[in-house]
């Protein structure tokens, strides 16, 4: 088994109301010095067998097709060592 992590973030130019709400709450709780908060999504995909370049290409395709919306989001794919 191998774990591949896909992180999805709104593109920098897209407004993130959730991140803003979290930022506001942090300030109210006294966590000072936080200039900005952006909230994203993390997907952990457990793959059968070894991670090959082919499998990773498939994960990237899944990230582009379903896990992210390329119009408003960017994604990164990385293999998590276990």
């Amino acid at each position: 088994m191998a774990r591949v992590v896909v992180d999805v973030m709104l593109k920098p130019e897209i407004l993130d109301p959730q991140g803003k709400a979290v930022h506001g709450a942090l300030s109210r709780l006294g966590f000072d010095g936080v200039v900005d908060v952006r909230q994203g999504k993390r997907f952990e995909l457990e793959l059968e067998g070894d991670v090959t370049e082919e499998r990773l290409a498939e994960v990237r395709k899944a990230a582009e097709t379903l896990l992210s919306n390329p119009v408003i989001e960017d994604y990164t794919v990385r293999v998590e060592q276990q």
């Binding site: 709104l10 897209i14 407004l15 109301p17 959730q18 379903l66 896990l67 919306n69 119009v71 408003i72």
Partner: protein, 223 residues
């Protein structure tokens, strides 16, 4: 003329949409998300609601429902398709319309009677309006902020594909006050407010939404 209304798990306004079709004089046909095939309908409405619980992103999972294969195919070959609210989100996720809908900038769910200006009457769904008509429809959404890059917005405006714009203040942070857009051909329209909730005098803010449904019936009869 048969107008199909798709029910996804979590659709809310499918019954109202079918009712509006009937009031407009059409035959409403219930379509099921899990079926392939469109039961010989002449047009399709993707209704409002929270398909698949809005999991992942609004409309992201509904886009891959079995029935959507046929809806996308039919839309590309010219069949009139109207996406209302969650349906608009599904059309954007399906790439039948450009851009995307994100969480309201003020973070609150909005539910109100919303004045709009109809800016394009050259679509299959708006031909019965007078251009520039000011109408009031119900607006109810949590993720109704329309976004697209500047080039796309300029192209939409330049090509007359902004179908409706919010009046009297922007309710959700939509760029350039956009409430609805169409594809190039004008057969596919996405709209955040709900014309199906303004189709009869008994309830809702009036009957300003009815022309969406009479327009498509006229377009189909003429075709």
């Amino acid at each position: 003329m048969k107008v199909g209304v798709v029910t996804f798990p979590g659709s809310l306004d499918d019954v109202d949409a079918r009712r509006a079709v009937t009031i407009a004089g059409g035959e409403a046909v219930a379509l099921w998300h899990g079926d392939h095939g469109l039961r010989d309908v002449d047009a399709v409405v993707l209704p409002g609601g929270f398909s698949y619980g809005d999991y992942l992103r609004c409309g992201a999972i509904a886009r891959f429902a079995p029935v959507m294969t046929e809806v996308v195919e039919a839309a590309k070959s010219g069949m009139p398709v109207l996406g209302i609210c969650n349906g608009f989100q599904i059309l954007c996720e399906s790439h039948l319309l450009p851009g995307a809908l994100i969480r309201n900038d003020h973070r609150k769910f909005v539910c109100r009677d919303q004045p709009l200006r109809i800016e394009s009457t050259s679509t299959a769904w708006t031909s019965r309006y007078d251009e520039g008509a000011v109408v009031t429809l119900v607006l109810k959404n949590g993720e109704g902020g329309y976004v697209a890059d500047d080039a796309t917005l300029d192209r939409l405006e330049g090509d007359g594909r902004v179908v409706a714009r919010y009046l009297g203040g922007n309710p959700n942070g939509s760029l350039r006050d956009i409430a609805g857009i169409s594809n190039e051909r004008g057969n596919v329209v996405g709209l955040m407010p709900h014309p199906e909730h303004a189709a009869e005098g008994l309830c809702g803010p009036g009957t300003d939404g009815l022309p969406f449904f009479t327009s498509v019936l006229q377009a189909l009869t003429a075709a």
